[in-house]
Symmetry: D2
Subunit: 248 residues, 4 copies
Amino acid sequence: MIIVLRPDATKEQLNHLVAKIKKLGLKPWISKGVERTIVGVIGEEDAIRARPLEVFPGVEKVLSILKPYKLASRDFKKESSVVDIGGGVKVGGKEIVVMAGPCSVENRKLLIDIARKVKKAGATVLRGGAFKPRTSPYAFQGLGEKGLKFLADAKKDTGLRIVTELMDIRDTELVCKYTDIIQIGARNMQNFNLLREVGKTRKPVLLKRGMSNTIKEFLMSAEYILSDGNFNVILCERSLFPFHKVSR
Amino acid sequence: MIIVLRPDATKEQLNHLVAKIKKLGLKPWISKGVERTIVGVIGEEDAIRARPLEVFPGVEKVLSILKPYKLASRDFKKESSVVDIGGGVKVGGKEIVVMAGPCSVENRKLLIDIARKVKKAGATVLRGGAFKPRTSPYAFQGLGEKGLKFLADAKKDTGLRIVTELMDIRDTELVCKYTDIIQIGARNMQNFNLLREVGKTRKPVLLKRGMSNTIKEFLMSAEYILSDGNFNVILCERSLFPFHKVSR
Amino acid sequence: MIIVLRPDATKEQLNHLVAKIKKLGLKPWISKGVERTIVGVIGEEDAIRARPLEVFPGVEKVLSILKPYKLASRDFKKESSVVDIGGGVKVGGKEIVVMAGPCSVENRKLLIDIARKVKKAGATVLRGGAFKPRTSPYAFQGLGEKGLKFLADAKKDTGLRIVTELMDIRDTELVCKYTDIIQIGARNMQNFNLLREVGKTRKPVLLKRGMSNTIKEFLMSAEYILSDGNFNVILCERSLFPFHKVSR
Amino acid sequence: MIIVLRPDATKEQLNHLVAKIKKLGLKPWISKGVERTIVGVIGEEDAIRARPLEVFPGVEKVLSILKPYKLASRDFKKESSVVDIGGGVKVGGKEIVVMAGPCSVENRKLLIDIARKVKKAGATVLRGGAFKPRTSPYAFQGLGEKGLKFLADAKKDTGLRIVTELMDIRDTELVCKYTDIIQIGARNMQNFNLLREVGKTRKPVLLKRGMSNTIKEFLMSAEYILSDGNFNVILCERSLFPFHKVSR
């Protein structure tokens, strides 16, 4: 970690900062440049990361040497991740996995019809929502468990794997019972408690990027799932932001 | 509802559409304009709203006559809403209510110190997070119930009302026990199940607008809370989007 | 055009509106629905489009039957557009055209080296900036005409077609002299006078979508170019918004 | 400047980087930490800022010690800027300056009526567009010079100062002749050549923040104007982003 001092930082402010760093069991070193004095911190960056050093008097900014995510970084795991979703389907390997299906599960017959077509077209995973995040409380909210059962029927009929969205922490167990991949929708990318919950399962998780979230925020959300021990995270880039804001 | 047909819509397509509308118990009327044929639908717009008429062959677009939100609209309630949060504090009336306090509750003494200053400065509501939505799983996540208790202590000491964030459906009862206003953070503006849950309480709800959400989406989220019977909704405009994306 | 009245619109307000519509040479028709009265306007929608009818007393909203863009619409031209950029290269046909090259033209030798590789890899158009839109006034701003000449040299050497960005209205003639396609960058998608200027040329234009612009705004910008008579417009979808906001 | 090496950077890569830094006349120092080796650069950061060091083999990231803007920074000028727009009106001092007026100048009489009301209400600057940035090529584009003349008439009548938008580099002289403040609209915040052009004048410039631009980008655009010697820059925060994307 590198702490950059303001040009007008006093000697007392520098000493105060250095004392603080030492108290945390870290080793400071000081470098006086042409325009700024900077203080490097040697040791576990974690110990100091949570401290709001920016608010120390005399401090201009704090620069991280390490990435804020760890498990999601190549530093932690060099090789690319391959997520095994069962039935011989692996995401992240050499083959492209196509997941297809209707927005929401509407009825059994229609779903099975679609599933057969999806399979015939070459997809190996069937998607379909049993719980739907709707902007309107008056819109169809999905069939719930009945929809999950239809997905299971379609799986039995076609051999396709299943991916479906989990919206509510309280449905985690229920959704896990039926699905092969838990989808976390774009609107829930920063629903941190939901991330924690799916992090406790060992189900593959398809994490969609939120509408206006940066790649860093996206990886931090993956980090939530990973840090609870679930390494089966599939990142799903979303379609372009403004298409969803098109006025009618 | 107005349905605009494509310029190349066939007579069969028009008939099919008209039959569908009648089947829903609604009355269609047809108007052939210079460039387009349009079909108006008379009757309860709700009956048809959920139907994806846009996908009907020959249909170009569907225009809503009514707003998608009802309870959140002035049509439903002409006068401005005033939310009574107790202790003589009313939001939405003639007086401006200032809510202030630390980002997160860190310890009892500090919180009470701040609360006294906040009160002295003229605020009537104390804010402070006991549950914190953090982008990093390694950041301080809040004191939880202990933090809520400190807020209650600060309330007793100063007479200030309390507003604090609810992030997890499972904490609804707990948070309601201590707070005067439930805050729904910007990241949860479209966590529809959470909205439903606070809609079932009768606590005032401070709903923050999400980062890239339109005003229509914002009102639809308010509609979720209202439609479950909780009319104590306070809309909270957020600070500007890009400030939060400033790179360091 | 459909004009929706407020539920509390008075008879005078309706009459005032109807008189206004007639004065514009258009034909109004009135439909009283369950919840709203609506006024349809028959005739050239253009005549009324520019009028701010929303501000008329008693008017709640105005709905367009027609799209705000015309030349950019399939209504105007049913078949897909194919833009001939010379040298046998056509964009929008059955073959995918790959355009590749360096961000900015830095020197002659390097550019020609890259151009040869780009050609070998199968691309048919060479891209490279001679004028660069830089967030910092201290960053390299491009080689200007010298860069354009290097592009011409690379074209001569390889037979590749050229695409390069035009940023300044005053450089239009200069850029046209050297390039086969004029690129309008994302930051200039709503630089309407620049659009007008390239609309007056007959050069193919590669129009990039702006960072937070909707598809409607994108098509309206294309309409600017088309409406000045240049039908050689290539729409270029940009990479995802938030990648550019990633903090370091 | 701090250069962070990848954990797997080789000795050759480090040496290559160090040699490069020395060649630029700068002094490198090397610090081997627990998890990363970092290379500090002592000397004028400018010399190295334009070089794309991130693409050097073995480099993970490059951290700036200094801000990318200089003249726009408090480091350059500690005290707050006060822009004198003549007629006794100063922006940035103790008094709040209100600028008001119609979106576009439509006719002389209406403008003068508005100007009088604006003055009576306490404003000291009249705004009104003579050149309008319109998403549609078919919308009213402003009165041009005639509109500027009406603004001058309103100024003479009321004593109000004038602010009006400049959209086209070629109109700079014309607009300067009539206005007291040049407005750069949100859509032109990154029209760098236009910024350069107003930077060459000494007129006060009202720079509006672009729709999805960060505060850093905003200040970089101000830097463009400042770096050409025009220090009369007024930053204008825009209204919230999503309001403009509300669908009708």
